[in-house]
């Protein structure tokens, strides 16, 4: 219960502090709008019947991922810059709980990107959209948020080890969007890239979302994808736990939390 309180209060604080940053405001509010415009103009003459799913979901996902890259992943660096990293690291509430709260705050807030993307398509292009299977879409949506939260925690831990977070968070944005097939199916990528996309949980989250709005809904494929997504995300949780233990040990031995 205490941990939950810490998570909730950290999440609320994170929402407030994230909204105060202009970069996050861009990722959250402007990015889904401009990406929707760009993707719509690129897809409008594609003669693909399902092109709206690529536009709305694609723009929402791209913005969600940007929020993760430029907030959750960068939070460690911000704490370091503000001189508070060691304080939250040693806080009795626990570093992992605080990070979980930060990621929860960011991810909950980032869900707005899908609404903005949908609203932009509706208002600017006056397009009619119908969701044939809302329950499946909702399930896919919840799983996507869960999966993205886990990968955010994973990234946040990983970037604890470096001071060049800004470089890395810039460098992971586009490759993940490309390899995970946010705006086109990952299956069109060259064969040698596919193993990389299969081990990344966003690939399965994106596939699940797209399947849930597909005209040719296939329940068997949906559940199989859901199962893989849960499996890959579970693997990330295990890896994240292992990583946290290793990093904690390394940081305590070398005393390099703020100067590595």
């Amino acid at each position: 219960m205490k941990e939950l309180n810490v998570i909730v209060s950290t999440a609320l604080l994170q929402i407030k502090s994230s909204l105060a940053r202009s970069m996050f405001r861009f990722c959250l509010l402007a990015n889904p709008v401009v990406n929707t415009v760009l993707l719509y103009e690129m897809f409008v003459n594609s003669q693909r019947e399902d092109f709206l799913s690529y536009v709305v979901l694609g723009a929402g996902l791209m913005a969600l991922w940007s929020c993760i890259c430029f907030s959750s992943a960068g939070d460690i660096n911000r704490e370091r810059y503000n001189g508070t990293l060691s304080l939250i690291y040693m806080a009795p509430a626990g570093f992992r709980t605080i990070i979980a709260g930060k990621v929860a705050g960011n991810t909950i807030l980032s869900m707005i990107t899908f609404l903005l993307s949908f609203a932009t398509t509706k208002i600017l292009f006056d397009v009619r959209m119908e969701v044939a299977h809302p329950i499946y879409l909702l399930t896919a949506f919840i799983c996507t948020i869960g999966s993205f939260s886990v990968i955010s925690v994973f990234l946040a831990y990983l970037l604890t080890l470096s001071r060049k977070t800004q470089l890395y968070m810039n460098c992971i944005e586009i490759p993940v969007i490309l390899v995970c097939g946010f705006v086109f199916p990952a299956d069109i990528l060259p064969v040698f890239l596919r193993p990389v996309s299969y081990v990344l949980s966003p690939t399965w989250a994106v596939k699940l979302l797209r399947l849930s709005v597909s005209d040719t809904f296939n329940i068997r494929e949906y559940y199989l994808t859901l199962l893989i997504l849960v499996g890959v995300t579970g693997l990330y949780i295990l890896l994240g736990h292992f990583l946290a233990v290793v990093i904690e040990r390394q940081v305590r031995i070398a005393a390099t939390l703020e100067v590595n």
Binding site: R21, S22, M23, R25, F26, C27, A30, N31, V34, N35, V37, L38, L39, E41, M42, F43, V44, N45, S46, Q47, R48, F51, Y54, K164, L167, N170, C171, I174, P175, I177, L178, V183, F184, P185, I188, L189
Partner: protein, 259 residues
């Protein structure tokens, strides 16, 4: 002149020295190349085509955004953060020179990045560039980067009057991406959108380089590049006017380092 180049080099070095060589290469080559690949694969899927010449050209020109918009655009933001704004304003050096020396090496890096992106993208997506006039291509790249650097400096000066530069710079990068005709034809845009596309850099140089692949009319090519250079010069001039105005206001109100 020597001092100008020394200052230009120091300004460039101060921005890049934080990175090791591999990190510098990652930021200046691998990341831009991946961005180009992403938009080309997206175009290939959305337009259902294998002929990606237009997108390789357009997106390779857009690679300058990283250098010309983000690096130059954050110049004054960085000067403020390091507490150098007062020294800059109090310096006897003309403000236009200060603006120009910050753009020189950035412009050169952008030319290299765009050229690298174009050839690497061409090889990856089988764009046959053997038939085009490379001299005309390089001329177009240099003119485009001159204009883009001018635009970047113009945007960067807003760093003196707002603390929302991350929002501004990212938004501007998307404005360029949407309105310069790199990813879809400008004719798809409404009239207001087409007007914006005529006022920003890169639109004309991308159009000019696309002409090299579809049969170049030299008069039209030259005219497009002259217009592009004019737009660039216009932005340098506007930057100079803006910085003079802001400096004057800031001196009067004593708000040079606050907003």
């Amino acid at each position: 002149m020597r001092r100008f180049f020394t200052l230009a080099w120091l300004s460039y070095k101060s921005r890049q020295s934080i990175f090791r060589l591999d990190e510098f290469l990652c930021l200046e080559t691998i990341y831009p190349l991946l961005t180009l690949i992403f938009y080309c694969v997206l175009a290939s899927y959305s337009y259902n085509t294998d002929n990606l010449t237009r997108w390789v050209v357009g997106n390779s020109f857009l690679l300058c955004v990283n250098t010309c918009i983000f690096t130059l655009g954050s110049t004054f933001m960085a000067e403020r953060a390091y507490g150098c704004i007062r020294s800059l304003v109090a310096a006897p050096e003309g403000k236009l020179l200060i603006i120009l020396h910050k753009g020189l090496f950035t412009c050169i890096t952008a030319v290299v990045t765009v050229t690298f992106g174009f050839f690497a993208g061409s090889l990856l997506f089988q764009v046959n560039f053997s038939q085009i006039n490379l001299l005309l291509f390089f001329t177009a790249v240099i003119v485009a980067m001159f204009a883009a650097a001018g635009f970047g400096l113009f945007i960067g000066i807003f760093g003196l009057i707002t603390d929302q530069m991350h929002f501004v710079l990212n938004f501007i990068s998307y404005i360029l991406m949407i309105f310069c005709g790199a990813n879809f034809p400008i004719s798809q845009l409404p009239i207001a959108g087409r007007l914006i596309s005529r006022l920003i850099p890169l639109t004309r140089s991308i159009e000019a380089v696309n002409m090299l692949f579809s049969g170049v009319i030299i008069e039209k090519f030259v005219m497009l590049l002259l217009q592009e250079a004019g737009i660039g010069a216009g932005y340098y001039f506007l930057s100079w006017l803006l910085i003079k105005g802001i400096e004057k206001t800031a001196r009067r109100k004593g708000t040079l380092e606050v907003f």
